[in-house]
């Protein structure tokens, strides 16, 4: 069952890129144009994610990127400052770690896989419908993903949503991301009031210095809403193809299913970091 779901996901991902299929059928290669504008650095959107939410940064065709997410499990508010220092701000405790790889299947279409150390695996894809540089107002992406717990054996949560972005010149960008997460409730639908969650994600990235940004995101929800609404903020440094981000969150979620299930407690905040690397010039 789990493999049939994984195969269905892969098959549908491939089915959604007709140009790629055509190229394979004819044997013709369709290399990305040498002057692919998707390879140009974007000062307003330097990374593919804010903290957990996606941005509308396009991944060039046949290029890829890697990201590691880290959320330390020790609440920052536990004990006094001496205790916090004793645990070195939570670094001495365990962490929820995520590894992510994404690939540009075709111009505007990227897909990837994200696995977190609680054995959740998420397959995701994102297609750029409109770019702000063309319409002058906003970028619009559609996203689709499915995550499954227990190494994609249990509790599958398919997701569909849009990423609406507005770049503020080269000073950063604002985001609004309505996302529907199906089956976010791990209980059978027969015994629950709500089985799905709608996330109304809002976020921003502001450029403080040429390569330094502050980021923040907040995810109000409706439907199945356990825990508290996920919130997170951080500071980050872009260095070539890398982005190093230090963040503070009220939960450990990085997949859509995890985000739908909310943060742990409104007054528990956790230290974390993201490191991403783009494999293209």
């Amino acid at each position: 069952m789990r493999w049939s779901r994984a195969l269905l996901t892969c098959a549908l991902l491939l089915a959604s890129c007709p140009q790629l299929s055509f190229a394979q059928n004819t044997g013709a290669k369709t290399p990305p144009p040498a002057d692919d504008p998707d390879k140009d650095p974007n000062a307003s959107q330097p990374d593919f994610t804010l903290i957990a939410l996606p941005t509308s940064l396009r991944l060039p065709q046949f290029s890829s990127a890697f990201r590691v997410t880290h959320r330390f499990l020790r609440p920052l508010g536990e004990g006094d400052f001496g205790d916090l220092l004793d645990d070195f701000f939570g670094l001495d405790n365990g962490a929820q770690i995520g590894l992510e790889y994404r690939f540009g299947l075709m111009r505007g279409l990227q897909a990837g896989i994200h696995r977190t150390s609680d054995k959740t695996i998420e397959f995701f894809s994102q297609y750029s419908l409109a770019q702000q540089k063309n319409n002058g107002f906003a970028g619009l992406d559609v996203i689709a993903s499915i995550d499954g717990t227990n190494n994609f054996r249990d509790s599958y949560s398919p997701t569909i949503g849009v990423v609406l972005s507005h770049e503020l010149g080269s000073h950063g960008a604002l985001y609004f991301e309505p996302i529907w997460v199906n089956n976010s409730n791990p209980d059978p639908s027969e015994i629950v009031d709500h089985n799905d969650t709608i996330i109304y994600g809002v976020g921003a990235r502001l450029r403080l210095l040429p390569t330094v940004y502050v980021v923040g995101e907040f995810l109000p929800r409706s439907g199945y809403t356990p825990g508290v609404n996920h919130g997170s903020f951080g500071i980050e440094k872009r260095a070539g193809g890398h982005v190093f981000q230090l963040n503070f969150s009220n939960g450990f979620g990085t997949t859509m299913g995890q985000l739908a299930r909310g943060g742990t407690a409104s007054d528990d905040w956790y230290l974390g970091f993201n490191i991403s690397r783009k494999f293209f010039r």
Binding site: T9, L12, S16, L109, S155, Y156, P186
Partner: protein, 148 residues
């Protein structure tokens, strides 16, 4: 072309809907148990299950005996004996309070709560009802304890 691709992505997501957990995974020894009164009557009150739990009507019946605790769970009388009816042995408690499973005495007896009178049910337990079976009964009460 763009709309085609976006539509395909939407179809992809819609194609993956239907990932809901199976109720039978929760209900364990009674895979056909559903949050309806007729299902609870048949799967819990009237019959034993694969765990070896006793059927409630072994004792809560008026066939050949007086029903234990004054509670007759045979199918013709069980609904009226439960919903909105006070317990005989603990008159301050109502057996099933529609919409309020936690304060329903039936649930407290099945869970073996601290302030029940007498023993946890089933009387011959263990085995008792599983957490999943009790969840389904609680859900039936939560949605108003309909006679369905």
């Amino acid at each position: 072309m763009r709309l085609t691709r976006a539509s395909l992505m939407i179809l992809m997501a819609l194609g993956m809907i239907g990932c809901d957990e199976k109720l039978s995974d929760l209900t364990g020894p009674t895979p056909n148990l559903e949050p309806t009164f007729s299902s609870i009557q048949h799967e819990i009150f009237d019959n034993s299950d694969s765990s070896g739990r006793s059927a409630c009507i072994q004792c809560h019946t008026n066939v050949g005996r007086n029903p234990s605790g004054g509670l007759n769970l045979t199918s013709s009388t069980s609904y009226a004996a439960l919903v909105g009816t006070a317990s005989l042995l603990k008159p301050s408690a109502t057996r099933v309070i529609a919409g309020d499973p936690d304060n329903s005495y039936l649930i407290q007896k099945l869970q073996g709560s601290a302030d029940i009178v007498g023993r946890r049910m089933p009387f011959t337990g263990p085995p008792y009802l599983t957490d999943g079976q009790i969840r389904v009964i609680k859900r039936w009460i939560e949605i108003g304890a309909p006679n369905n």
